[in-house]
Symmetry: C2
Subunit: 340 residues, 2 copies
DNA sequence: TTGAAAGCGCTAACAC
DNA sequence: GTGTTAGCGCTTTCAA
């Protein structure tokens, strides 16, 4: 392994000059630039990361901006992953600051405002609210730091990294899963949209789009009928038994399938397939007792962990990172849940 | 962040003494040991990995011992993952030496013999052959280096790391998958064992065990009948049409489901569910045209990648690594194949 | 049993 | 434009 010192000797220049060439700091004649680059190439010089980081003696601060997790079970999971990553890389100069927001756009914007004033070297953010995110991400860009989006994707942000599900494809898959085992001549599907105040997050809409697309232009599904109902999350009373009359299968495009499963179980409704998302405790409960057939997991814990790993790679190892990291679409049934 | 120098000042000793305490090198009075440890604790001293590695100036060699991949499509995949890891950590002093073996126990032992004489700091090995592996792993242990098993597990080796599938549970899952959509009163299942010369690898046997266990003691499956056939891999002629008479579903406990799928398709046999393992090209082909219903993926690429990551963590970052890393049991259907 | 000091390879400030 | 050099924090050798 050749070092800067050796390169300097071979090129008849000083280590300072070699360093300037390597980092494009300018102030070197073209002649010397060429000389040094030739040697670098010839001997396949690779920077010694340890020496570099020691000399830089820089600590890296990562800001994490995601929903508060004390109310939302789902959002505990990315945190767990992030903490695992933090633990792993703490001796390499990585530290983490958390910026939580409540699950509404106002709080999101406030937190982003704080973030604008803060100092950090990398950002992991769950950009739940599309337009607001678009605005702030463009602001953050000016800080010229690596930005990692988890959970929700925002395109059109140059040079950002996305870690999460391909929401559209996740919808397609749910279409497949829901149609497994449906052998009736006529099939009635129910899509249940269980919303918070605003839940037009792009993930949600794309899943529904993907779901429908699965059935498009396939003759074997020409007798499928699709019904949609909207339910407010906190008014379970609005769920009625008649919604389920004649229904063969139910698709819940967010993590709240357990609300439907609960109703189905209590009212002893038989023979409906339920497909939903995310491994919340209650979802798992109904998966285990057979009310929910399939859950699609987007591995939020791993998303968080990968977020930290990617920033470690970028900041410490100085490597390029992928622009897009889609999580595998994990199909979860009772028998493969919890295998680590 | 406190440094060794500061600790030395605070304890009124030299940096050498602090270093001796930190690394338990002995040659220090109990009094000084206590003094230094107290300060370390008080200020939560963490070693600076970069400085440490720079001073050690050590390069780490990883030996990789897996089947040759020019004939075996499957074994290309761990290599891809390993190469990805190698690329990622090459500037941190990690390099990789490959030791390939042919898929038979003699070649495996020969290669292990070479390995015994070689010098390296960490080992990634696919211990396909159980007894042979048991012997050699115990020999490798004497080198006192971290050992990572991928693909196949060997228990009873103290302090080794396993990265791979929980084969038993993978069998259980295939039981579940095969019974999806089977609504007949009487069900005939066929287990097709397609063997190489010796294919009593533990993975294979455990999958079959897990498969049967899924149906045990469940009344809803009391009308299931199980049939087994053995086929030599290279004598496809032995597959006969009558094997499939009255059969509702077929379980192939290794990666060769495509052989059955091919026969089923050519002979226009309808209405059998096929469940198999691994995303070989041919398996995917039959998954895509609907002959194979489910494939269970054990993510061999990721196994390789994780192997390198784990050794990086252990050797470079000096962190403890998990003893067991089970891959999630990925259920693959057409709609979620290839999402990265 | 201890301390002093050189050196790992790179960075960056400073002097020329 | 270029060279010199101190210093990042740790390891290890050597002398005491």
């Amino acid at each position: 392994m050749i070092t800067i010192k050796k390169i300097a000797q071979l090129a008849n220049v000083s280590t300072g000059t070699v360093d300037r060439v390597i980092h494009n700091r300018g102030q070197v004649t073209q002649e010397n630039i060429d000389k040094v680059n030739k040697i670098i190439e010839k001997y396949d010089y690779k920077i010694n990361i340890h020496a570099s980081n020691l000399a830089l003696n820089k600590k890296f601060k990562i800001a994490v901006c995601i929903p508060k997790n004390n109310q939302l079970e789902y959002w505990k999971l990315p945190i767990i992953g992030i903490q695992r990553g933090a633990e792993e890389y703490k001796n390499s100069g990585i530290s983490i600051d958390y910026f939580y927001y409540d699950y509404n756009s106002l709080s999101f914007m406030k937190t982003c405002g704080k973030l604008l004033k803060a100092e950090f070297d990398g950002l992991i953010i769950a950009p739940i609210f599309h337009n607001e995110s678009l605005f702030f991400l463009n602001e953050f860009k000016k800080k010229n730091i690596p930005i990692i989006l988890i959970d929700s994707n925002i395109e059109n942000i140059p040079n950002r990294t996305y870690i999460g599900q391909d929401a559209y494809q996740a919808g397609v898959l749910s279409g497949k899963l829901i149609s497994i085992g449906l052998t009736n001549k006529k099939v009635n599907l129910l899509i249940v949209k269980i919303n918070k105040e605003i839940d037009d997050t792009s993930i949600y809409l794309q899943r529904i789009k993907g779901f429908y697309s699965y059935f498009e232009n396939k003759i074997e599904y020409k007798n499928y009928k699709f019904n949609e109902v909207n339910i407010e999350q906190f008014s379970k009373g609005k769920i009625t038994k008649q919604m389920f009359e004649g229904i063969d299968a139910i698709f819940v495009p967010n993590s709240r399938a357990y609300i439907i499963a609960e109703f189905v179980m209590k009212n002893n409704i038989k023979g409906v397939n339920i497909v939903g998302y995310d491994l919340l405790e209650k979802n798992i409960e109904y998966l285990n007792n057979g009310v929910i057939n399939f859950l699609i997991n987007q591995n939020p814990e791993h998303q968080g962990y990968l977020g930290v790993c990617n920033l470690y790679k970028k900041l410490v190892l100085k490597e390029e990172i992928n622009i897009e990291n889609y999580m595998p679409l994990e199909i979860i049934v009772k028998e493969n849940y919890g295998i680590k």
